[in-house]
């Protein structure tokens, strides 16, 4: 059973190696603003999350996902929907 907390924890692990600015990773940390991630890094991160949970995160969903917390909610939602 995958819960929100374990999804969040795993997302932090996936982000960590890409966190080149070494900013604190919190629910409210933003990808573009705080971490200054470029679009290619975001693409890699999205792909690794998709592979991790065998889900699909459509590109058109990304503009609404600004913080780590929002991504965790979205991924948790997709995992739950998959059943």
């Amino acid at each position: 059973m995958t819960d929100r907390a374990s999804v969040y924890a795993r997302i932090i692990e996936l982000i960590d190696p890409l966190n080149t600015k070494k900013v604190a990773l919190l629910e409210t940390t933003t990808f573009a603003g705080d971490m200054e991630m470029d679009s290619l890094t975001v693409m890699d991160l999205v792909a690794s999350m998709e592979d991790e949970w065998d889900i699909l995160i459509p590109l058109n969903m990304l503009p609404d996902l600004e913080t780590i917390g929002q991504v965790a909610d979205a991924v948790y939602g997709l995992v739950a929907k998959k059943g």
Partner: protein, 405 residues
Amino acid sequence: MTVDLLAKYDPLIAEHAGLLSTGIRDPFGIVMEKVLSPTEAIIKGKHTILLGTYNYMGMTFDPDVVAAGQAAIRDFGAGTTGSRVLNGTYQTHKECEDALKDFYGMSHAMVFSTGYQANLGMVSTLAGKGDFIILDADSHASIYDGCKMSNADIVRFRHNDAADLEKRLKRLPPEAGKLVVLEGVYSMLGDIAPLPELVAIAKAHGCMVLVDEAHGMGFFGEHGRGVYEEQGVADDVDFVVGTFSKSVGTVGGFCVSNHPKFEILRLVCRPYTFTASLPPAVVACAATSIRKLMTATDKRARLWEATRRLHGGLKARGFNLATDTPESAIVSVLMPDQEATALMWSTLIELGIYVNMSRPPATPAGVFLLRCSICALHTDDQIDTVLGKFEQAAQMCNLPLAVPA
């Protein structure tokens, strides 16, 4: 108080000003004062060899093409002042679509005002809410914008990676409508797609397939239809999109297909309907050019020969090229960073060579490029001159070159 809506571009304004403050010419501000031929122009009073025009087949000054345009402007006037679906379809537009149907051996052809609009229109109209668009990560801006304009869910796969495409398709609901969008030639690095693998996977997962042959039309395949013809996947491609702004030598875009319901798209495709049609002279030029391209076998052979000469020559001089062998008529030189690229570009233009400078976000993976596109009318002498100037420019810019093997 008014918020200045252009303030968001301040960082870009500063970056561009910084680039120019080093004393180099503006790579995005070139003016051709005179165009002497498909391969030569006068820029800032200087005789310049053009090596960044996409004018692959050199049709812009073809006497038959020019004559067709002159006759059409005389007989039909300067413009149509209307949409294709109202007053903007003339005999010339029908003849242009007939030429496309004959060129591609397909039953339907739709001419748009540009290739950008053809992609925008086709991608956004084919896939709607609840459908999926699956596109290569390195797709052209017009494909990305078509995705944005559609209400479909957008899935991106790694550039030219069949395994990644398959992995993503497996995650999609089998019952959903799916459009896989590919390009024959990717214009930044000049690499071509492994279409047989990609198309087979797309078909196995119940997808419709659209291939953009903007940079492949005219010189790939037996009839010059594109990479999809050369690689033998014509039967499995549902839609081919293309442009008149490259090999055809004028302006305009199109989609061809054998789909029996294709004609309805004319009424639902907004970038087709809600804009004025091309001027009669343009479509007359295009129709004549397309018919000549059908049999332009000598020119095709010459284009490949000139391309191999440039690619081989640059490689031998130690330039770092984006593809190991010449895959298309685009030869891209990989550059270390923005400064080196701009300096080298500027030095080349001062030496009378025009190439394209490309940088992120237009380029994939954050690379900086000096991009050369070859024309069938480039002579060996011109290519040799270009090679010499590249070598000279690299010395003047202290660009490190590999020691030739």
